[in-house]
């Protein structure tokens, strides 16, 4: 079944490349550990057989569309990844007609580390109820039968129940070990500012120190810049070399946006995001 998916993607890639519809197909191939997957850019039909798809294909490849804004590109997108395409369309970062989306109906992916693929689905996949991409041009795979969505925020609720001092101590400990490698930013489809606030010199928002105070500013502002924009692909947490639980922070903010505005990022390219508009009825507790 999984092998078939890779073949179906490969056949579509062959068709798209040979007909000149796209110049490049971004998909997955086996990594050098022989166990996990890695992104693959296919420019010619001679390489389409390298394409694979299985439950180790964890990367959100839509980030790469930002490097190919002016070129016709096909991209393999899981349902979570496909939401990033809507986000980027909504924010006018990519053009729909330049992107061909090979959607994959997804049964979930596993935790991977170098040379290791887990047996069970990622925690976020166990909570996921979006098994078909929200936007696609061609679909492969079969979505699993619908199940009632489980409680998605158990860990967030557990954190909310703690005192402010406990929460502060928790996050301080997490951020203290950050080395500011910016992998979380570089991998994120929503983090595409041509100059990130951490690198701005005038005004100087945060210095170069890799130290607790600066780490806290970096991690907090990163999360806040993604409020109502994070699509939950969890790439930031996956790539963090120091295992900082970034999804806990991201999903807390996602929950707030859902409760306040009933909005989920990336579900449609047309819906106006809460931070791009203002309704008179919005109170948000300001001045109360």
């Amino acid at each position: 079944m999984r092998q078939e998916l890779g073949q179906q993607i490969g056949e579509k890639a062959r068709e798209l490349l040979s007909s000149g519809v796209v110049e490049c197909v971004i998909g997955y191939e086996r990594a050098t550990d022989g166990v996990t997957a890695r992104p693959l850019f296919v420019y010619g039909v001679e390489d389409v057989d390298r394409l694979i798809f299985d439950d180790t294909c964890i990367h959100n490849l839509t980030r790469y569309l930002l490097n190919r804004r002016d070129k016709n590109t096909a991209v393999v997108a899981k349902p979570c990844d496909s939401r990033a395409i809507n986000l980027l369309l909504n924010e006018k970062q990519i053009e729909r007609e330049k992107v061909f989306i090979i959607g994959v109906a997804c049964q979930g992916v596993v935790e991977t580390r170098w040379n290791q693929a887990g047996e069970t689905l990622q925690a976020r996949c166990q909570l996921c109820s979006q098994h078909t991409p929200v936007v696609y041009d061609f679909l492969v795979g079969e979505a699993p039968p619908e199940q009632p969505p489980p409680e998605a925020y158990a860990d967030v609720l557990e954190m909310e129940a703690r005192s402010a001092a406990e929460r502060e101590a928790f996050w301080q400990e997490q951020f203290d070990r950050c080395i500011r490698c910016y992998a979380c930013r570089q991998v994120c489809p929503g983090c595409y500012c041509s100059e990130c606030f951490v690198e701005q010199l005038d005004p100087l928002w945060v210095g170069i120190r890799i130290a607790p105070a600066e780490n806290q500013i970096w991690n907090t502002i990163r999360a806040f810049h993604l409020v109502g924009r994070c699509i939950g692909c969890n790439e930031c947490e996956r790539v963090c070399p120091l295992n900082i639980p970034l999804s806990l922070l991201n999903r807390k903010l996602e929950k707030e946006v859902w409760e306040l505005f009933g909005f989920q990022a990336g579900m449609s390219a047309e819906a106006v995001p809460p931070f791009a508009t203002f309704e008179k009825e919005e109170k948000l507790g300001i001045g109360e």
């Binding site: 990594a31 050098t32 550990d33 996990t36 890695r38 992104p39 693959l40 850019f41 990367h59 980030r63 790469y64 490097n67 170098w114 040379n115 400990e173 070990r177 080395i179 500011r180 490698c181 910016y182 992998a183 930013r185 570089q186 991998v187 100059e195 690198e199 210095g207 170069i208 120190r209 890799i210 130290a211 790439e235 996956r238 790539v239 070399p241 120091l242 295992n243």
Partner: protein, 331 residues
Amino acid sequence: MTRFISKKDLITWLEKLIQERILIAPTTKNGLLLFQPVSEVEDIVLDFQNTELSPKECFFSATETLFAVKREDGRTELVPATVDRDTVLFGLHPCDAMGMAINDKPFLAEPADTLYGQHRARTTLIGLPCSKPTTECFCTSMGGGPHDPTHLDVLLTEAEDGYIVQAVTGKGEEILPSSVVEREIVSPPPPSVEPVPAAGISEVMERVFEAPYWSRLADRCIHCNICAYVCPTCYCFDVRDYANGGRIERVRSWESCQSPGFTRIAGGYDPRSSKGARLRQRFYHKLRYFPQEFGALGCVGCGRCIRACPVNIDIREVISDVQKLGAKIGT
């Protein structure tokens, strides 16, 4: 005859070292194995493959103050940072010790980096041989070896109910406790390490600079700084002055050639603005420029960048691709 210390005496020795100096050793915290200061011997992890980050941080910290400028009563005084305590770095593997020796070349060449020099002078390296190289290790192809004592002060090799003690330097000899005894004992053979085709790589690199290979490889690179920050031999940094009242501090922090804007200069021009040029720089620095300038490859084969890269940029694959490419292009 070989010198030997029993496991019990090693613990006593380490306890003494914790009292007298700062002892930095591999310990586990938040599920990560890192070199950290330890206060209890039992926290030290002895049997491990590789730590997540290299121990370069002991000499070249992620962030440190180089000097402070104090202004008082119309006088200006420059106060350089000093290292005032002795440290023992315990448990590092030969590849990490070799990493330090490689970093010594740029840091200690004149004009020497005095702060780095002080860290080095006041730190004793007590290493353990690598008994279980990972599948991504390739130290033997970079001139090292899992049991190579060369760049350590002391090497402790596990045997029978203790460790074979090898004092490599005078500094190592001085730190040994009196509980070290002579014993007839045979050292275990080093484990085998998968080789990479690194022979002549530096010369081949010269021929493939213009190859489209680099921009294709960079397609999947996300240009984070993970590879540089986990690497024992990446030594780039940024420097900034911080003013706080009458006190100014000059601070340096790790930086990496992979970050967008690393080579951006006044006026906004960036000679390495493309992704391909940035990624190429990483491999040219290690395999071409560093050997040209300092006579040694700038990689120890510890495999950390391979393991940590989110998109599987694998230096072993790059070396092997470059060899094939070089053979195709010819001399």
